[in-house]
C-alpha cells in the first residue's frame, strides 16, 4: 500500500533518531526545562518535499515510536503530526520552501502547533495532562528549537538526496532542429 523507496529511508532513520533525542535524559532538558523535538521539523520537510504516502508513513512511524516512550495514548502524536503535515502539504504551492526564512517560520509554526494539537486531543480524550503557565515557556522554547532545526534538516536531506539519486545527465547544447544542413548546391 505504501511505497517505500531508497529516498524515504533516511527520513525513517531520522524519525527514529529524533524520538531517541527527545527522550534522551540529558541535553536541553536540564537547562530549558524541555527537550528538543525534531519530529515536527521532519514532518515539515516531508510535507514540502515528499509524497503524501511518505508523509503518512513518517507520521505513523515517528508518532508511534514517540508515544511508545511516553505516557501519551498510542496514536496521539501521529494524529497531531499529521494535522500539521496536512496543513503544510495542502498549502505547499504557496510556500517558498527553498528560502531559509520560510523554513524557519514553518518550522516554528509546526513545532508550536503539534504539541498544542496533542494537548487539545488529550483534553478531548479525558486525560488532562499537567499544564500551567510554565507550559507556555516549554512550548515556545520547543518551537524555537524546532524552528532552528528545520533549515538544518532541509540542508542535510537535500545533500543526502543528491548523494542517493542519479546525477542529472548534462544536457547537450546540440539541437536537431537548429542543425545546419549542408547540401551541395
Amino acid at each position: 500500500m505504501m511505497r517505500w523507496n531508497l529516498n524515504s529511508m533516511p527520513l525513517y532513520a531520522a524519525a527514529y533518531l529524533a524520538v531517541f533525542v527527545a527522550a534522551y535524559p540529558n541535553g536541553f532538558r536540564s537547562t530549558l526545562g524541555t527537550q528538543i523535538d525534531l519530529l515536527p521539523p521532519l514532518v515539515v520537510y516531508c510535507a514540502l518535499q515528499s509524497k503524501w504516502t511518505t508523509l503518512a508513513g513518517i507520521t505513523i512511524f515517528g508518532g508511534y515510536l514517540f508515544d511508545s516512550l511516553s505516557a501519551n495514548p498510542l496514536g496521539l502524536t501521529t494524529a497531531s503530526l499529521f494535522v500539521s503535515g496536512c496543513v503544510i502539504r495542502v498549502n505547499r504551492e504557496t510556500i517558498l520552501r527553498d528560502q531559509t526564512f520560510a523554513q524557519l517560520v514553518i518550522g516554528f509554526m509546526a513545532s508550536l502547533a503539534t504539541p498544542l494539537v496533542s494537548l487539545l486531543l488529550l483534553w478531548l480524550l479525558g486525560r488532562p495532562p499537567l499544564t500551567g503557565f510554565g507550559s507556555i515557556w516549554q512550548l515556545v522554547s520547543t518551537a524555537l528549537l524546532g524552528a532552528l532545526a528545520t533549515p538544518v534538516l532541509f540542508g542535510t536531506f537535500e545533500r543526502i538526496k543528491r548523494k542517493l539519486n542519479f546525477r542529472p545527465v548534462p544536457e547537450s547544447s546540440f539541437r536537431a532542429d537548429r542543425e545546419i544542413k549542408r547540401r551541395r548546391a
Partner: protein, 273 residues
C-alpha cells in the same frame, strides 16, 4: 480511489490513530513495550560510548585526587559501618518488642538498583524508563526511590525495561502523612499531586486534601502513609515549604519540596515487597 495518494495517506493515518485510541489498555501497553525494544540497539550504543568516554576521563584523573577521595570514602565507610551496627541492634530490638506486643513483624526493604535510560519525550507527563524488567522480577506498582526518598512507581514492565511514573504526574497520586518537625508526631494526612504552578520545577508538588482541623507547618516532614495499596509506610517524600489555608472549605493544600532531585535522576532503586 487508489489513484489519489492523499486519500490513501489520510485513511491509513486515521485507521492507525483510531486503532491506537480504541484498543484496550493492555493491548496498547503491549504494543508500546514491543516498540520500545526498537531502541535497545541505540541505547546499547550510547551506553558503550558513555562507558568508553568515562573510562577515558577516569584515566586522566591525577593519583593524588584519587588517593584523597579514597581516604574520604574509607572514613565514610567506617562511619556507615558504625551506623549499620547501631541500626541492626535497633532493628533486632524492634523485632523483639513487636513479638512481645504480638504485632506483625516488619520485613526489611529489598532494593534493586536500576539506571535511568530514557525520559518522557512529552513535557506534560513525568515518566522515566529504567533498565530493569520482568527478567529482573519487576512488577507493576512497585515503588521506586533514590537514597533521598520516594520518586514514583512502576507503571509498565517490559522484559528488560520498565516505565516509572514520577511523583507529580497526574496518574501518580501518593497518599502521604505529615510528621511534626520538632516532635515527629503525626500531624496530618493528605494526597500528593502535581503542581500546575510549578511546571518547570518538578521538585515542587502539592499536598492536597489536608483536613482543616489539622495543622501543618513549613519544615514538617512528609512520608508515605501506607494507606494505599502501592507504597509501604514510612518512605520519606519531602518537606512542607508553604501552606495555603486561604481557601474556604473543610480541606486545604500545602506545597512540598521533594527530597529526591527529579531533574537529575541517573540511578534509582526499585523496592521489592
Amino acid at each position: 480511489m487508489l489513484k489519489r495518494p492523499y486519500l490513501i495517506a489520510f485513511t491509513s493515518v486515521l485507521l492507525v490513530v483510531l486503532s491506537g485510541f480504541c484498543l484496550p489498555r493492555n493491548t496498547t501497553s503491549q504494543i508500546k513495550l514491543a516498540l520500545r525494544d526498537f531502541f535497545l540497539p541505540i541505547l546499547g550504543l550510547v551506553h558503550s560510548t558513555e562507558t568508553v568516554l568515562s573510562k577515558g576521563r577516569d584515566s586522566i584523573i591525577p593519583r593524588s585526587v584519587l588517593l584523597s577521595r579514597m581516604r574520604e570514602l574509607l572514613a565514610q565507610n567506617q562511619e556507615l559501618t558504625l551506623h549499620m551496627m547501631q541500626s541492626t541492634q535497633l532493628w533486632q530490638e524492634n523485632q523483639r518488642l513487636r513479638e512481645a506486643l504480638d504485632w506483625a513483624p516488619k520485613s526489611p526493604w529489598t532494593l534493586k538498583p536500576a539506571n535511568v535510560i530514557l525520559r518522557d519525550p512529552a513535557s506534560w507527563w513525568r515518566t522515566i524508563q529504567i533498565d530493569l524488567g520482568t527478567m529482573d522480577g519487576v512488577r507493576t506498582n512497585m515503588p521506586v526511590l533514590t537514597d533521598a526518598g520516594l520518586i514514583g512507581k512502576i507503571e509498565q514492565v517490559g522484559r528488560r525495561s520498565s516505565l516509572v511514573l514520577l511523583i507529580g504526574d497526574p496518574q501518580c497520586p501518593v497518599s502521604a502523612s505529615v510528621k511534626k518537625n520538632s516532635t515527629s508526631e503525626l500531624a496530618a494526612y493528605g494526597m500528593i499531586k502535581g503542581s500546575s504552578a510549578h511546571i518547570l520545577d518538578p521538585s515542587l508538588v502539592r499536598l492536597t486534601m489536608v483536613d482543616r482541623q489539622t495543622r501543618v507547618e513549613p519544615g514538617d516532614a512528609v512520608e508515605t502513609s501506607g494507606l494505599g495499596p502501592v507504597f509501604p509506610k514510612g518512605i520519606p517524600i519531602g518537606r512542607i515549604i508553604d501552606t495555603n489555608t486561604a481557601n474556604f472549605g473543610p480541606l486545604y493544600e500545602a506545597q512540598i519540596t521533594l527530597a529526591a532531585n527529579l531533574r537529575k535522576l541517573e540511578s534509582v532503586w526499585v523496592l521489592f515487597p
